[in-house]
């Protein structure tokens, strides 16, 4: 697959991935393998997935986001989803997509701060984001 189409930035010890709106099945597979390669090669401990470029989501995209977070976590990297737009947040809640066990932050800057806290072994804002109980 065309790796140039997958924007993966390295910032400090972290990896930032920007998801764009024109995702289809093949693009997703390409992005996933590119991320996994990058995370394992660089032994990244923190991953930011920026979804601010997504104005709308469907259940497919929602699954993709959750799946990427699960994969990076398996490789030992803390993952924060950043830039979820208001309309997207409402759609996800209405769809009943549970992202309760994912860390989220408003933008890349706050996401980076959250990553540092997570990597410092601190509870993310006293642990709310880490609990899957809220639906």
């Amino acid at each position: 697959m065309n790796e140039a189409s997958v924007p993966i930035l390295r910032i400090g010890g972290n990896v930032l991935i920007s998801l764009q709106s024109d995702l289809d099945d093949t693009a997703v597979v390409a992005i996933e393998s590119a991320i996994m390669r990058e995370v394992s090669r660089s032994r990244t401990t923190g991953t930011l997935i920026d979804v601010s470029g997504l104005a709308m989501v469907d259940s497919f995209i929602a699954r993709v986001i959750a799946r990427m977070a699960a994969m990076t976590r398996l490789l030992g990297a803390e993952t924060v989803i950043v830039g979820i737009q208001p309309a997207v947040a409402i759609t996800l809640v209405e769809m009943g997509v549970s992202m309760a066990d994912l860390h989220t932050a408003l933008n890349a800057e706050q996401g980076m701060a959250m990553l540092q806290r997570l990597l410092d072994g601190r509870p993310a804002r006293a642990g709310e984001a880490a609990s899957p109980a809220m639906r």
Partner: protein, 278 residues
């Protein structure tokens, strides 16, 4: 004294005409093609044309230009002919060219063999009622706007005082307004104050949790405040599960908690930054 055999029939006819003319509403007859056959006083009062002027006109003369072009009059008559009766509302035209909002019933008249003779058309001026409806709708919208204010109480801390009951309509607006403010002000904490909510049932709790969940997807942590003792009791009895949502008795306590968490998290960042510097 001779008895005129027609007298009772004529009297009946006369009283029938008086009845029609006494009506304040328009009651007119149309022939099967939609041309005006009779025109009562109510019609004159409503539309401004006298019977002499109106009789013989096609009914579409009282429709707006757009509706005439769209063939609305013909369509309505066809509907009435097929169904026997047709009810509608719409803008109609007076003689002076002004518009009014009419509520209309068209009934098909058929002879005993089922042959279409024409139509009876009854119309009323509902302009005022329509204006009143619109006013109520506008005011309801305004109340909804007013009833969901989002206040910035501190840097990165928003408060959302909820007053009154939450239905899904209101909860939806509230969530939208809140999320927009979170994005605008880069808020990290949201205090949902429910001291103005009379009762929390499972449905209201469900709405609240949806709002909390949506806010969290945008990276903001919610704190519930203003839970009164009886509300707390009722929520536990109803088995309402708030998950990890933090809750405080008063807005003051909730704000304090938010500030503690903010300072804890920024200390963390500072300490980390210090650790990086040699």
């Amino acid at each position: 004294m001779t008895i005129n055999p027609d007298a009772p029939a004529r009297r009946l006819q006369q009283s029938y005409e008086i009845m029609l003319d006494s009506l304040l509403d328009e009651v007119i007859q149309l022939d099967d093609n939609g041309y005006v056959l009779t025109w009562n006083r109510g019609a004159e009062r409503l539309k401004g044309w006298t019977a002499e002027e109106a009789i013989g006109q096609h009914v579409s003369a009282f429709y707006t230009d757009e509706d005439v072009r769209g063939g609305l009059a013909e369509r309505e008559l066809r509907n009435a002919g097929e169904a026997g009766r047709y009810e509608t509302e719409g803008w109609r035209i007076r003689k002076d060219g002004s518009r009014f909002w009419a509520s209309i019933v068209i009934t098909a008249m058929r002879d005993p063999n089922g042959e279409l003779l024409g139509f009876v058309k009854m119309s009323r001026d509902q302009t005022e009622r329509r204006a009143a409806d619109e006013l109520i709708r506008r005011q309801r919208d305004e109340i909804l706007e007013l009833s969901t204010p989002v206040i910035q109480v501190w840097d990165r801390v928003l408060a959302l005082p909820i007053i009154g009951t939450l239905d899904s309509n209101r909860a939806g607006r509230l969530t939208e307004g809140l999320l927009a403010k979170i994005a605008d002000l880069e808020a990290e904490f949201v205090i949902l104050d429910i001291s103005g909510v009379p009762t929390i049932d499972t449905q209201v709790a469900q709405h609240l949790l949806k709002t909390v969940h949506a806010a969290r997807l945008m990276g903001a942590t919610s704190i519930l405040s203003g839970v009164r003792p009886e509300t707390a009791q009722a929520m536990v009895h109803l088995g309402i599960e708030l998950g990890t949502l933090r809750s405080r008795n008063t807005l003051r306590d909730a704000l304090q908690l938010a500030l503690q968490m903010i300072s804890a998290s920024s200390n963390g960042v500072v300490r980390h930054a210090e650790a990086l510097t040699p």
